[in-house]
């Protein structure tokens, strides 16, 4: 008789092991990663840049303003610890602590604010002699930030070891806060071993006059036509910590790929740090502008989701591993094989080229036969550094397939379209 271990093994083979990660997983994960701002470089103390005394040129319009400090260039706020931020004359000290049940102390050291972010610097000190572990990092967290006209979601956080093994030094970004807020409350959370979560509100004063002004903050009315609609660019904010471009899509559906958009200031590319959005809005995030002396700002849509309509039937007469060029992309009709129930056709393509499944059919013996099933995708290694992806398309017919009928395919298309953002550089 089967043992329970064998039964479990069988169960695993027959259920869970039959499950495979969906083909779109990689794209989803890559997009998720793209939305995360690029890692801050390690907090190297050799930030030897000297703040020059060039006052920031401020070109501003907007409903409200931070009373605001002007920002001086030549420092990169994203690489500094809070002490260094203060040394440069920015930021607001907070220095508020709470003590958790086990004696761990959480201290908000200070904050900096601008139009794109509210950044909070903090330390967590475990009781003396107890090391701060990865597990602690998972147990602790910050939830949203509230205050007058303010309910800012958490955006990201990070940090590293502090002075001792017991200390963690981190910073956490929230969505920007209202300049009218005078006190802010952040919620620190702790998961206990028993699965319960404790919340600790920490309230502190916010000095909006220590917030930093943006270099540019303006509405845009630019758009780029793509295969399935239009991308509209609505707003740009270049703050001392980052640059955010907001827009919306006018497309049949939210794009599968966010594509690659580059930002150039005075002809020099500004590093991209993320993208995201909720249908139909999107947001692109870049590093801070390298200078306040701006002559030109250009956005270049390098690639984006494209659609190629296929008008001609594709011959199935001579399957082979040689590609067929259709539009910008290639397809491979690798094989046409008779099976017990009909014909299987193996078609390969680039990883991000997707044949439209609606109305996908073949012409055989004068009839049009719709596809009955499509397999999971499998890699096909061309052994020349390229890996294509193939799928088996099955058709129920006794007639030999003559042509493949498909509406079109979706792919990553090179657009290379540029829009120039007007610069009002005359004060």
């Amino acid at each position: 008789m089967e043992t329970i271990e064998e039964k479990l093994q069988e169960y695993k083979q027959q259920t869970v092991n039959q499950m495979h990660a969906p083909s779109e997983l990689e794209g989803r994960l890559r997009d998720a990663l793209q939305r995360v701002p690029a890692k801050k470089r390690s907090m190297n103390k050799t930030v030897a840049w000297i703040a020059s005394a060039v006052a920031a040129l401020i070109l501003m319009v907007g409903a409200y303003e931070y009373p605001a400090l002007a920002y001086y260039f030549n420092i990169n706020l994203n690489t500094l610890s809070f002490a260094e931020v203060v040394e440069q004359g920015y930021g607001q000290s907070v220095d508020k602590s709470i003590t958790l049940q086990d004696g761990t102390v959480v201290t908000i050291q200070g904050v900096i604010a601008d139009d794109n972010v509210f950044r909070m610097y903090y330390t967590i000190d475990r009781p003396a002699g107890i090391a701060f572990t990865d597990d602690d990092f998972r147990r602790y967290g910050f939830e949203n930030l509230r205050g007058f006209l303010t309910n800012s979601d958490s955006l990201r956080g990070g940090g590293g070891p502090g002075k001792t093994k017991s200390q963690f030094v981190g910073d956490h970004d929230f969505k920007p806060v209202s300049p009218f807020a005078r006190t802010l409350t952040v919620t620190f959370t702790e998961w206990l071993d028993n699965g319960k979560k404790l919340s600790y509100p920490i309230t502190f004063n916010f000095e909006a006059n220590k917030a930093m002004k943006s270099i540019i903050k303006e509405d845009l009315s630019e758009s780029i036509a793509v295969d399935k609609g239009t991308i509209h660019y609505d707003y740009i904010t270049a703050s001392p910590t980052s640059t955010i471009v907001k827009g919306h899509y006018e497309l049949e559906e939210y794009p599968r790929f966010s594509g690659e958009t580059k930002l150039y200031v005075n002809g020099t590319e500004v590093g991209r740090s993320g993208a995201g959005g909720h249908n139909p809005d999107f947001q692109l995030q870049f590093a801070a502008f390298p200078t306040d002396n701006i002559h030109s700002i250009d956005l270049v849509l390098e690639n984006f989701e494209g659609y190629h309509k296929i008008n001609e039937p594709i011959s199935l007469a001579s399957p082979s591993d040689r590609s067929i060029k259709i539009g910008d992309e290639k397809l491979w009709i690798r094989s046409v094989t008779k099976t017990e129930t009909g014909y299987d056709i193996v078609i390969a393509r680039n990883q991000f080229t997707f044949l439209e499944k609606d109305n996908l059919s073949i012409q055989a013996g004068g009839h049009v036969i719709p596809v009955s099933s499509i397999s999971e995708e499998r890699p096909w290694d061309l052994k020349n550094g390229n890996i294509m992806w193939e799928q088996t398309y099955s058709f129920n017919t006794t007639d030999k397939p003559e042509f493949l009928l498909v509406n079109g395919y979706q792919y990553i298309k090179k657009y290379n379209k540029k829009i120039s953002i007007p610069v009002d550089n005359k004060k």
């Binding site: 169960y11 027959q14 997983l25 994960l29």
Partner: protein
């Protein structure tokens, strides 16, 4: 694939290296997420959250070779948090609650006789035993990793697994199984 090398790359901020690490074991991550979330959509959401957390926290990973157990722990934590938000996971409050959401009726991976049997058998364990047994026998995770994932001490995990196995043995051991489940549930 050199895991430690890729981990170091990822620690330097190389997103592709991190993605490569995950994709190399994508089915295992997906199966794990699916077991908890019970559907593709939520499983993929959990994995997206996981990779963002990994990217933000990978600096803190000291041993590259621990990447897989560390990242899977983060995935399970994320799944449990998502389930808590949905009110579907109460392993502590309600021991009898069949809270592992996997294998609901719309699950396409449930067809054969014997797996249904196993499904029925597992449903008679309490949520904690079932979770530990699935992590151990279905996802092949080491005891220590399961302890990290569930936040329970190692000894507790071992005992949950051995008691769960005993209970399962009791169920298939005799001819009582099948028409006399009510009695066995109480074990």
């Amino acid at each position: 694939m050199n895991v430690s090398h890729l981990v170091r790359q990822a620690q330097k901020g190389n997103k592709e290296a991190l993605l490569q690490l995950i994709m190399a074991d994508q089915d295992a991550y997906y199966r794990l997420a699916y077991t908890y979330m019970g559907n593709e959509h939520d499983a993929m959401d959990a994995m997206e959250d996981m990779i963002v957390t990994l990217y933000e926290k990978i600096d803190q990973l000291q041993k590259g070779e621990a990447f897989y157990s560390w990242s899977k722990t983060i995935l399970v934590n994320r799944c449990r948090t998502l389930l808590r938000k949905k009110g579907r996971f109460f392993p502590l409050e309600d021991e009898q609650d069949l809270s592992l959401a996997a294998f609901t009726d719309d699950n396409p991976y449930r067809h054969t006789e014997s797996e249904l049997n196993m499904q029925v058998l597992l449903s008679h364990l309490n949520a904690q035993q079932r979770e530990a047994i699935e992590l151990r026998y279905v996802h092949d995770l080491p005891y220590q990793t399961i302890a990290d994932m569930t936040g329970a001490p190692l000894g507790t995990i071992k005992s949950r697994i051995s008691q769960g196995i005993l209970k399962l043995k009791a169920m298939i051991g005799g001819d009582r199984y099948g028409d006399d489940r009510g009695e066995i549930t109480g074990v």
